[in-house]
Chain length 128, copies 2
């Protein structure tokens, strides 16, 4: 299979697939003409990576998860730890964003949004 077909099947852009090869996540073969040639296992790995990325795992986490996936002797505890750490990071991020949102939505509600210059948003930014 060529990269375009793989792109369609995995919903990953060709650019991303090349990038994943560059950083060693996959190792597709090469045809005589220099084109990348993908096996089903490559497609499977790429789909795995796509889902892991969609859950927000970093590339390095994905590398770890892929290695665990391919290791029949893995301990599920190792997988769980990676996932739990990521989950904690997500929770932190959500809390951060919520705090921003609360402040911001308050300020936006206060702002008249008309032609006059008076603005509580700027007032807040200017004086904390």
């Amino acid at each position: 299979m060529n990269i375009g077909d793989v792109a369609k099947r995995t919903s990953l852009p060709p650019k991303t697939i090349r990038y994943y090869e560059e950083i060693g996540l996959i190792r597709p073969h090469r045809a005589a003409n220099g084109y990348r040639h993908f096996e089903e296992t490559d497609v499977h790995k790429l789909a795995f990576l796509g889902r892991a990325r969609a859950l927000g795992f970093s590339i390095e986490d994905c590398r770890t998860l892929l290695a665990l996936y391919e290791d029949d002797a893995r301990a599920s505890a190792d997988v769980k730890r990676v996932a739990q750490d990521h989950l904690d990071a997500i929770e932190d991020k959500i809390a951060q964003l919520r705090s921003m949102r609360d402040t911001l939505s308050h300020l936006v509600r206060e702002c008249a949004g008309d032609n006059r210059p008076d603005c509580p948003i700027l007032k807040d930014l200017a004086k904390g």
Copy 2:
């Protein structure tokens, strides 16, 4: 005032302050020895920027907000639009993260986290 003092007063690293000068957010004077010399207005602007950044505004948004702040003839509607757009983006981000969190926390709960290889997290990533 030198950059170190400004850094302390604004809680911004010197590196960041230099960067903000480089991209034209501030224009501190220079002393004879080449050191940056900051006026109170510079410190005020930097504090403004620090708070805007803390609310998650992009640098370009910050540039816009600072320009509006310094424009006595601004319309609060312009400020409000920037803030509202950012707020919408934050809401989107929160929704995205919540969706990730929900999926992930479910998977993490399902995973035994022991020495055995069987793992619902990997199973999900492998088969969507």
